[in-house]
């Protein structure tokens, strides 16, 4: 690897923020090379890791150091040369810490892409400049919009192999932009790169004078994510009730949880669901002392002025801004289980925020072809990696928002009651 290395400007700052991104694409698109390049250029790759990869590459007779070996951690992956599971990677620059959810791109792995995208602030999709958009690129873009990942980056890779031809880049960029317009994608950035040679990765390359946008790393460091959080709708799912059994602290009753959205302040009037009782916030505690306000993703403990019965699974919100209290839920579901399909009439355990209930599948409206977006209304079931619109009825009400409005109070998982496997991921369209 040759390209200039980014020198940390100063000892790593303690006030960095955090960006989570998911990468999608196959080995052929150069995804592992790109990740290896990001790690290398930010000095996040360690010499013993590199030596181990070089040794294995040499032993296998690879022509160049195969950076895919850095992320393929499992024996079966190395033996078969495939990536099985989501791998998490970490790097930091003085501005940001990054968590990469590296998801395999093959069709079987829609499950993994959905998993990685569920927590991502940004999705990074790769295409090979020589091949242009393929079915898989469209599928990844669709999943990014389905999971409502706020930012999307398309890297047109292997530009060195098309002689940095602007026309090739423009054609792919135009085609992708018009496809993305049909999806719910709010922020799209397209960057021409060569992961292998490091062009437009850490720094702008001289080989693409016609490209006026940022390098990939610059974009990752500067993309504005603070506004992605919902700071409007107060949603505080109660996780756990803290009641110290101690002689020094008496009469303490605090509701522990992580703020899903909105801003909570002492003195605020609150509505507690599902009881419908109202109270006021007496204090917001942390182990470091009380705070003036709590917002996502803070984990805090809320105390109320009134003694009302609240337990895990309840939700603290505001009297005039509350989620639906609903037992009938319409949702898009991605099926994740290879052992049994989703069928109408089957009962599952549903986990939604801190609430667990049972749910029965009342109807399957359609199955979506993730490549063509065609809706098959006659589909009898959803198999592994299939996505469809489903109607559920739950045993107790969920305190739910539309997923498009709130990723935390709009997402749920389904669990098979006999095997305990996580079998489905759901995104609520409507709850009533």
């Amino acid at each position: 690897m040759s390209q200039a290395v980014v020198e940390p400007e100063a000892p790593p700052a303690r006030q960095m923020d955090l960006l989570r991104f998911a990468t999608a694409g196959s080995v052929d698109d150069g995804k592992s090379t790109l990740i290896g390049r990001l790690l290398f250029d930010t000095k996040s790759l360690f010499s013993d890791q590199l030596e181990a990869v070089e040794a294995v590459s040499a032993a296998r007779g690879d022509e160049y150091t195969n950076l895919a070996l850095l992320t393929d951690g499992l024996r079966a992956e190395r033996e078969q040369g495939i990536t099985i599971d989501v791998a998490y990677r970490y790097f930091a620059t003085p501005r940001r810490k990054f968590i990469i959810a590296d998801t395999p791109g093959h069709i079987q792995y829609t499950r993994n892409m959905v998993t990685g995208a569920s927590t991502a602030d940004l999705a990074l999709i790769l295409v090979d400049a020589r091949k242009g958009l393929v079915e898989q690129s469209r599928r990844h873009a669709f999943l990014t919009s389905l999971l409502r990942v706020p930012h999307l980056v398309l890297c047109v890779n292997k530009m060195d192999l098309v002689g940095w031809d602007k026309a090739v880049y423009d054609k792919i960029a135009d085609e992708f932009t018009s496809f993305a317009a049909k999806l719910d994608i709010t922020d799209l950035t397209i960057i021409p790169v060569s992961a292998l040679e490091g062009d437009n990765i850490a720094t702008r390359s001289e080989k693409s004078p016609w490209y006026e946008g940022p390098s990939l790393l610059h974009h990752l460091e500067h993309v504005h994510i603070a506004s992605d959080r919902n700071l409007v709708d107060v949603r505080f799912p109660v996780q756990y009730v803290i009641r110290p059994q101690s002689t020094t602290v008496t009469d303490y009753r605090g509701y522990a949880g992580q703020v899903a959205s909105g801003v909570l302040k002492p003195g605020d009037e609150v509505l507690v669901l599902p009881s419908g009782l109202t109270s006021k916030i007496a204090a917001i505690d942390t182990a470091d002392g009380p705070v003036d306000e709590a917002f996502p993703p803070m984990s805090v403990t809320v105390r109320l002025t009134d003694e009302i019965d609240i337990s895990r699974g309840d939700m603290i919100c505001r009297p005039h801004n509350a989620p639906a209290v609903a037992q009938d839920v319409e949702a898009m579901i991605c099926w994740m289980d290879e052992t049994a399909p989703l069928r109408v009439g089957t009962k599952y355990t549903i986990k939604h925020t801190t609430r667990t209930a049972r749910a029965v599948v009342r109807g399957l409206q359609y199955r979506l072809d993730v490549n063509t977006l065609h809706r098959d209304e006659g589909a009898p079931e959803l198999g592994l990696n299939e996505i469809g619109r489903v109607r559920l009825r739950t045993t107790i009400p969920l305190l739910a928002d539309e997923y498009r409005r709130n990723r935390t109070t709009g997402g749920f998982i389904l669990i098979d009651e006999s095997t305990n496997r996580t079998v489905g991921a759901g995104m609520i369209i409507e709850a009533s």
Binding site: P12, R14, F46, D48, T71, G73, I99, Q239, S299, T422
Partner: protein, 303 residues
């Protein structure tokens, strides 16, 4: 929480919030959680997070030390004082006792990392622990990079990497049948540097061996091992006094020190930020056995 601007959350605050969320989920959904506490820096940070997650109540679960018998005295002393300070119940699963009673056998090379696993599993069975907090991080090793925050283990404690539960949003599936258990890794998304920044921010005391000190060492395969009751210099090895510190603390017969002048937390942070070798690569003889050493041990029930 520290903020520079309204609604800004630093990466350390975000990591802390996530770890606290995970600990509270476990406490709410499991019957008998336990926290693995070795006196190493990651388990020390994890214990601090547990303290913060349930304040002003006490840490609501016991801690367990799987004691290889190959200990650094500074670490044992730290363990006991911290346990006393927090009023915790400490369970010790002793590898030495298991060897003495014949339930496990000492390996020919005398190392005890691998034989910890049956001792750990016996303790899980004896106390019927259903959730075990471990301080492992995904940046440590590539098998760990693929393990879930909630890692399902069957009745033999085995990890099956091809049969992991998808983990979406912050919805963790801890359901299990009797005899099965979940290993929970609240520090999954932390890096070595994050851990050190947090130690600095929270001013968490550590066993002294994490900071530079003079020690008699022998060099083996490029690594510096302290001369003690477990590491006896072989013929041809020279004992020398060097300024070293430990980056990790494990089986004292297997854990090497690194040459270092870093005697304060800020100096350690500068050193970790500049280092070019992973912490396990620099200090653990046991991970060098094969490409898949960690994966194999995890499949057997290791953390």
């Amino acid at each position: 929480m520290s903020q520079t601007k309204p609604y800004r959350v630093s990466h350390l605050d975000a990591l802390e919030a996530e770890s606290i969320f995970v600990m509270r989920e476990v406490m709410a959904e499991f019957e008998r959680p336990v926290l693995l506490f070795s006196g190493g820096k990651d388990s020390i940070v994890m214990l601090r997070l547990a303290e913060k997650a349930f304040a002003p109540a006490r840490v609501p679960f016991p801690v367990m030390h799987v004691d290889t018998g190959h200990n650094f005295p500074e670490v044992l002393e730290y363990r006991d004082s911290r346990v006393a300070e927090l009023g915790l119940n400490l369970v010790i699963a002793s590898v030495q006792e298991a060897i003495d009673s014949g339930t496990v056998r000492e390996l020919p090379d005398g190392t005890r990392n691998r034989i910890q696993t049956p001792v750990l599993l016996a303790a899980v069975e004896k106390y019927r622990f259903d959730a075990l907090f471990g301080g492992a991080r995904r940046d440590e090793e590539k098998a760990r990079a693929k393990e879930r925050m909630f890692s399902f283990r069957d009745e033999f404690g085995q990890w099956d990497p091809k049969n992991q539960r998808p983990e979406l949003w912050s919805l963790y599936n801890g359901r299990h049948h009797p005899g099965e258990s979940i290993r929970v890794f609240p520090l999954s998304n932390w890096t070595e540097l994050d851990v050190w920044h947090y130690i600095a921010k929270e001013q968490i005391p550590l066993p002294s061996i994490y900071y530079a000190h003079e020690r008699e060492v022998v060099e083996r395969a490029g690594m510096f091992y302290a001369v003690n009751e477990f590491i006896v210099p072989k013929a041809g090895e020279t004992v020398e006094t060097r300024t070293v510190r430990y980056r990790t603390v494990g089986d004292a017969s297997q854990t090497a020190a690194v040459l270092s002048e870093a005697d304060t937390v800020d100096k350690v942070i500068d050193e970790v930020a500049a280092t070019r070798i992973t912490e396990r690569g620099a200090t653990r003889g046991d991970d060098k056995v094969s490409e898949a050493a960690m994966e194999d041990r995890k499949r057997e029930g290791y953390f």
